[in-house]
């Protein structure tokens, strides 16, 4: 060990120690991060929660003008069998005027059927309008009682604090009158 103390090597020895110090601390930091991630990730949705990710719905009993609520991944999904008036209303809106611009035909597969997630995009309340007699807001769609957001007959945000339209879940028609959500 005596040779490490010679004056000629003192300068390079210090740089070497600095490098070893940085490398050791850097390695420790990377290692800690590698272990931290799986620990943090345990709090993300687990496999059995993800497995519940699709719901099949039979649309045949739903009459024109009727709205039903089904559950998908624990959240309510609104299915609206729209009347021709409601479809016209939704299509007549000038898209450029909307807060979250989206044409009605981009939000439906078949215009008669509107399928949206029934969770207000403001802070997550379930908007009113699914049951007869409930307040449907100023645009004939849905009205969120928590903080006063109004949605139109296409589920688009028209008034109030919510920033986005009611989201359309991924779904497809498996027959003329049945869909699979998710």
């Amino acid at each position: 060990m005596a040779d490490t103390a010679t004056p000629a090597q003192a300068g390079s020895g210090e740089t070497r120690r600095d490098f070893l110090y940085l490398a050791a601390v850097g390695m420790g930091a990377v290692g800690t991060a590698c272990v931290a991630w799986p620990l943090i990730n345990t709090m993300n949705p687990s496999a059995e929660v993800l497995a519940l990710a699709s719901t099949e719905v039979d649309l045949s009993p739903i009459e024109v003008g009727q709205r039903v609520t089904v559950t998908w991944r624990g959240n309510p999904v609104f299915i609206d069998h729209r009347t021709s008036d409601q479809i016209q209303q939704a299509e007549a809106v000038d898209v450029a005027e909307l807060r979250d611009p989206q044409a009605d035909d981009a939000r439906v597969v078949n215009p008669e059927w509107l399928v949206v997630i029934g969770v207000c995009t403001h802070l997550g309340c379930v908007p009113l309008g699914q049951k007869a007699g409930q307040d449907r807001g100023e645009f004939g769609g849905w009205f969120c009682p928590c903080h006063g957001s109004h949605y139109d007959t296409s589920g688009r945000i028209r008034k109030g604090p919510a920033p986005l339209n009611l989201p359309v879940p991924p779904y497809e028609f498996t027959g003329d009158t049945s869909i699979v959500i998710g």
């Binding site: 949705p45 802070l123 997550g124 919510a162």
Partner: protein
Amino acid sequence: MSGFQTNSRVIKWIEHRMPVFSFVDHSLGSSYPAPKNLSYMWNFGSLAGITLVIMIVTGILLAMQYTAHVDLAFDSVERIMRDVNSGWLLRYIHMNGASFFFIVVYIHIFRGLYYGSYKAPRELLWMIGVVILLLMMATAFMGYVLPWGQMSFWGAKVITNLFSAVPIFGESIVTWLWGGFTVDNPTLNRFFALHYLLPFIIVAVVVLHIWALHQFGSNNPLGIDPKGPQDKIPFHPYYTVKDAFGLGVFLIAFAAVIFYIPNYMGHPDNYIPADPLSTPAHIVPEWYFLPFYAILRSIPDKLLGVVAMFGSIAVLFILPWLDRSPVKSGKFRPLFRIFFVLLMVDAVVLGIVGAKPPEGLWLVVGRIATAWYFLHFLIILPLLGVFERPKPLPASISEPVLKGGGSPMGAGATAKPMEKA
């Protein structure tokens, strides 16, 4: 002040190996000198500590009877109320204890605001206190979710959704917080785990709070430093007995609520089991969150509303640097006193607005009150420090009482405030 002394050989034996008795004596015994003019407003610190202990004791006992599962939680709470021996008492103490904890802490905070307890050299003490307030809010919020009633569920949903306002990562953060796609069983489980953990973290931060307090000792109603031993009295027995008397009064009020109006501060909707498909017509948080909820709702933009709500706490963090007046106590600040009263009124108005639906006149009142809150801290306080002419300060804590007779005995002690004895 004399140091710790004893005749007991057992205590001497322990003290020699681990000086725990002199530590306690120095912390809240006869060796801890406190300003002799502390009023009853200085009771609320120790009251808050005692309330924390009450909450932890009742909470641990409740946890032995509670089941953190969406199908069982509501019924397990009802079982505590009906079947567990004195379970109703345990739950009513814990439930109302949360409200009383906030009452005590809010008084403690407003006392600090009025007497300038946040000013140098106590800035860090104040900031640690704000951390305790934040931890208390998180703990109270998660505790309210556990009974799994309608308000529990929808309160949890609305508050966790605040994080969805974060740009880009918002959705992922909320999914991570929930452990699913909505508030559900994983959420309830983790909230229970955290609700059990956080009080002990609060205890740890309270230790830091007291540590920082003991560096310079308590502020006092005059806001001037003690000039010597003649301005101080030992904490024990003088303030231990004063705190004990205050505790008695506090417990009378606490017991009156527990035994006569235990549900007065609660919300009846929380006795309806949680239903993820139906939001109650009118969601209201517990009363101690109402002012912050009012600030959130008074801003029409989602992200800015959340920023303003957290900002209302953040201004407290930087308060020691916003109020530049060298005078601590509001007693000697004629203009500050007026604005202090206005701030208290403003906080109450925000609380009332928070309980009302955000429509019509309430929305306008809420916006004005929110604007005033930030105006007070960000504009008025800094300007007061420059333009206000404070009244002359007394020469010492003893002087106003003894009419000048309280000057220090030793001439050398006049220049400097006394160090810790």
